[in-house]
């Protein structure tokens, strides 16, 4: 039995699982655009909470899965927040840490920046966990009219990532048994990668060759078109999600352009 990868599609029956891939892709792009445009903390907090609620209730991820999938980014974002809060300039002192003044502007910007990264990671996790790569590839062919050979190349690439990840873990374990210690330095990591490369390359080439034979042996590429059974299509829910996402993005950037958005400092001075 293997440890399951949190950044991997898992079948389910949640609202997001039932949504077509292109609507989810539109949602992901929309959330990313909103996050990139939001440099004010309270806006970013709102977006993060909406994405978190989506993950928990619409995609049916458990809180533990969310933590397991994003804990590394949580640590990175927290560090990022602390460093920026301590180093960025400002004018309004919010509070002091060891007699060093911490400015409301800098903490606000730092929080917005940290949450921006986390929001994008979490929304990507929701997308990956609820979207079968094959459905996405088919949607690109049937809805976006991408050639099916290209769409399948994209699908196979996504499909093979967890397998390669698993193989790297096996190689790492196999080499650790030989006495190869994991290096922390950059030079050490490069050397480590070199050692993994050969067995990984040999295994990947073997697997790729097998996949090609398996696909061609079942007439893949024999005709310019192919049938798609169960091709996903955008239903009313998908249209609603896409329209709402588009409306939010347009409204947000319009409001920004017209100067309607004002900062309300989360860490306001006492």
């Amino acid at each position: 039995m293997k440890r399951s990868n949190v950044f991997q599609f898992r079948a389910g029956r949640s609202v997001f699982h039932r949504l077509d891939p292109l609507s989810k892709l539109a949602w992901l792009v929309g959330v990313s655009l909103l996050a990139f445009g939001a440099y004010i903390a309270w806006i970013q907090i709102t977006i993060s909470l909406v994405v978190l609620a989506t993950a928990l209730f619409l995609a049916r991820l458990s809180p533990l899965e969310v933590v397991r999938g994003t804990w590394l980014f949580m640590i990175a974002c927290t560090s990022f927040f602390v460093i920026q809060s301590l180093t960025l300039p400002g004018t309004t002192i919010a509070f002091h840490v060891l007699s060093k003044p911490i400015y409301a502007e800098s903490t606000d910007y730092a929080l917005a920046s940290a949450l921006r990264i986390y929001t994008i990671i979490l929304s990507s996790m929701v997308f990956v966990r609820t979207t079968d790569p094959r459905d996405l590839a088919i949607a690109l062919v049937t809805q976006m009219h991408l050639p099916y050979r290209i769409a399948y190349a994209f699908f196979i690439a996504l499909r093979i990532v967890p397998t390669i990840e698993e193989e790297i873990q096996i190689i790492r374990a196999a080499q650790a048994v030989r006495g190869v210690a994991r290096k922390r330095s950059i030079a050490g990591r490069i050397g480590e990668t070199k050692r993994y490369a050969m067995p990984l390359l040999v295994g990947s080439l073997r697997r790729a060759s097998m996949m090609v034979m398996s696909m061609e042996g079942r007439a893949f590429g024999a005709y310019p078109q192919r049938t798609f059974v169960d091709a996903p299509h955008m239903g009313p829910m998908g249209i609603a999600v896409s329209v709402m996402t588009l409306a939010s993005v347009v409204a947000w950037y319009t409001a920004l352009a017209l100067g309607y958005v004002h900062a309300i400092y989360v860490f306001a001075p006492a």
Binding site: Q175, M210, E216, Q225, R226
Partner: protein
């Protein structure tokens, strides 16, 4: 090449069926010969699906051909088993049958190859999709999609069939392979056997006339293997599907195939009936050009017949060769053992040595998720100098347990004691000094660019002196017979050599415990025997304990002193292999099979209680028991 051993297609079968009168006149044996003949005559009138004439094939960049002057005719309804040592060209021959050779695996094709009426050289692989279905060894490498339905529909979608027809054929194909109701299941939820049946369904959906399989059960446990073989036998019997397959696990397959083709160094050296194939020992050549007896991949029941004939100093006719347990029991009952019959030599058991406690596991539980533990309160003691087999179905926790022993999975504090030290407190290098682990895929363990450096690596990181390293490396290179390749890249060696090298990298550290993860996967029986011979030498020389994870019950019967069975993460059995194989309920619940010879001796003993024969684990032991009790009454 032995002319007697190289009959033209079909002629060998005719000849073997007419050679002399049957040695004993039990009705079932005569019927057996007649039914083989009828099957052959029926087959003669059937349509030719494979017609190879003088085929020679050389891969691009290679100097020597991998197939040499192959001529082969296969007709509709045939079930052909291809046997041969690793590197003999079996897989290349299979890939020729759907055009992967020469169109994907490029090279030069000479001679004529016509498959299902299409000339291979002029036909693309995709154009064979409705004629030939290919199933490979590793289901994970050949399954493209993530859902069962998508995988089964994939070929028909590529053929632009209407969606309604695709869904009907998809359902039929899943029903064929015994997976109704699995259409919406994720591929990741399936067992190995189920995945392989999905692979079979995925090619059957296109209704090919020819099914080609390359070691489809190599990665499966006995339960998975039985599922796949049952599906193939049903397809051939009930639907007349023509099957050509390469497979090492012949014990369960010998009575299902209609024809056996044996290959050696790219050429066909035998083509005939299974009984003809398994009636006489021949020799072929391994990838490293060593001589290998073909008997090393014979069914164990056929080996028994040959041993019985040898002990009785009688000739064994092909018609008498048993292919399944029932036929072997019949043969033992009917065989007349003359007074001058001699007992066969049996290897002496290893000398008793003082056994020291090596490792103890107390109440070990482990799981990646709290609600689904993989190991549940495992208690276990290992002593020095033992060969211990760890058995169980795929997913029962065998590999997880073994990996905890080398620290790949962190052991809970106090759960594993290694020579008085808590394993959880030891670093990777300290553990590796005492416990070695040979992975399934040897390539994963290689860290240098040269064979001798590979062996020296473990010593260098432990700061051994240059003289000591040189001495040990030289010594170990000799033990694993790789001295002549010491300056070669590990990746340029054959699979058998790479496997020996991966063992050598562990061996050089003189570990107290060596764990072998599935040593026989993807290897023929002879190669597995060589590896186990190496293990036995290691035990003799260093007193090393060998813990092997395996599904190969013949290997367990022959080599293991002790068997452990894991069932759903719990130790369900810990004792001698002979006791394990006597417990039918346990075997069933753990998805295991007893070795054929154990079943033959058990059934024979039940049928002939007066002979006083007890179940045994080797063919020679059974022959000796039959010789020793020949005068006693029997039913």
């Amino acid at each position: 090449m032995d002319a007697e051993a190289v009959p033209a297609n079909g002629r060998a079968l005719t000849r073997t069926l007419h050679v002399g009168p049957p040695r004993f006149t039990q009705g079932n044996v005569v019927d057996r010969a007649n039914s083989d003949l009828e099957a052959l005559q029926g087959s003669r009138d059937a349509e030719v699906l494979i017609d190879l004439s003088g085929v020679t094939y050389t891969y691009d960049g290679e100097a020597t051909p991998v197939l040499r002057d192959i001529s082969l005719t296969v007709r509709r309804g045939d079930f052909v088993l291809i046997l041969g040592p690793s590197g003999c060209g079996k897989s290349t021959l299979l890939h020729l049958l759907n055009g992967s050779v020469p169109h994907i695996l490029n090279g030069t094709l000479e001679g004529t190859a016509v498959i299902c009426g299409k000339v291979v050289a002029d036909t693309k692989v995709a154009e064979f999709a409705t004629d030939v279905g290919m199933v490979f060894q590793d289901p994970d490498a050949q399954i493209i999609n993530t859902r069962v339905r998508d995988e089964v529909c994939f070929g028909l979608e590529n053929l632009c069939r209407p969606a309604d027809e695709i869904l009907i054929r998809q359902k039929e194909a899943l029903d064929y392979v015994g997976l109704p109701g699995f259409a919406d299941r994720s591929i990741f939820e399936l067992s190995g056997g189920q995945k392989q049946r999905v692979s079979v369904a995925a090619v059957l959906a296109a209704q090919p006339r020819l099914l080609v399989l390359d070691e489809p059960t190599a990665n499966l446990d006995p339960a998975g293997m039985t599922e796949v073989f049952a599906v193939l036998a049903r397809l051939n019997r009930d639907y007349g599907t023509t099957i050509v397959m390469v497979e090492h696990r012949v014990d369960e397959l010998a009575d299902k195939v209609s024809r056996v083709v044996m290959m050696d160094q790219g050429a066909i050296v035998f083509d005939g009936s299974p009984r003809g194939a398994f009636s006489a020992r021949r020799v072929v050549h391994s990838e490293e050009a060593d001589v290998v007896p073909t008997a090393s991949w014979f069914p164990q029941v056929s080996e028994l017949a040959m041993d019985l004939a040898a002990a009785s100093r009688q000739e064994l006719l092909p018609d008498q060769v048993p292919l399944c347990i029932e036929e072997a029991v019949d043969l033992c009952s009917a065989w007349t053992i003359p007074a001058e019959a001699l007992a066969m030599a049996i290897d002496a058991p290893p000398a008793e040595r003082s056994k020291k406690p090596l490792l103890s596991i107390k109440s070990l539980s482990f799981g990646y998720h709290r609600d689904s533990p993989i190991l549940k309160k495992v208690n276990l003691e290992l002593e020095s100098g033992a060969i211990v087999a760890l058995l169980g179905q795929n997913g029962s926790g065998k590999t997880t347990l073994a990996r905890m022993l080398v620290g790949i999975n962190a052991a809970p504090a106090g759960a594993i004691d290694l020579g008085g030290k808590d394993l959880s407190k030891l670093g990777a290098r300290e553990i590796a000094a005492d416990i070695g682990y040979v992975f399934q895929n040897p390539d994963h363990q290689f860290v240098t660019d040269q064979v001798d450096e590979e062996i020296a690596y473990g010593l260098k990181v432990r700061n051994y002196s240059a003289d000591e390293i040189a001495r040990r490396v030289d010594d170990v290179l000799g033990i694993v017979d790789l001295k002549r390749y010491r300056h070669r890249s590990p990746f340029s060696l054959s699979l058998g050599e790479r496997r020996r090298l991966s063992v050598a990298t562990m061996l050089v550290l003189e570990p107290h415990l060596l764990v072998l993860d599935e040593p026989t996967i993807g290897q023929d029986h002879e190669r597995a025997q060589q590896l186990m011979g190496l293990m036995a030498r290691l035990r003799e020389r260093y007193g090393t304990t060998i813990l092997m994870i395996t599904h190969d019950v013949r290997l367990v019967a022959q080599w293991a002193d002790r068997a452990l069975v894991l069932r759903s993460g719990e130790i369900a059995f810990d004792g001698a292999p002979i006791e394990l194989f006597a417990d039918a309920d346990l075997l069933r619940s753990a998805g295991l099979l007893a070795p054929p010879i154990h079943e033959v001796s058990r059934q024979f003993a039940a049928r002939n209680p007066d002979r006083g024969i007890r179940p045994v684990l080797s063919s020679r032991e059974l022959v000796n028991a039959l010789v020793a009790t020949r005068g006693k009454a029997s039913k």
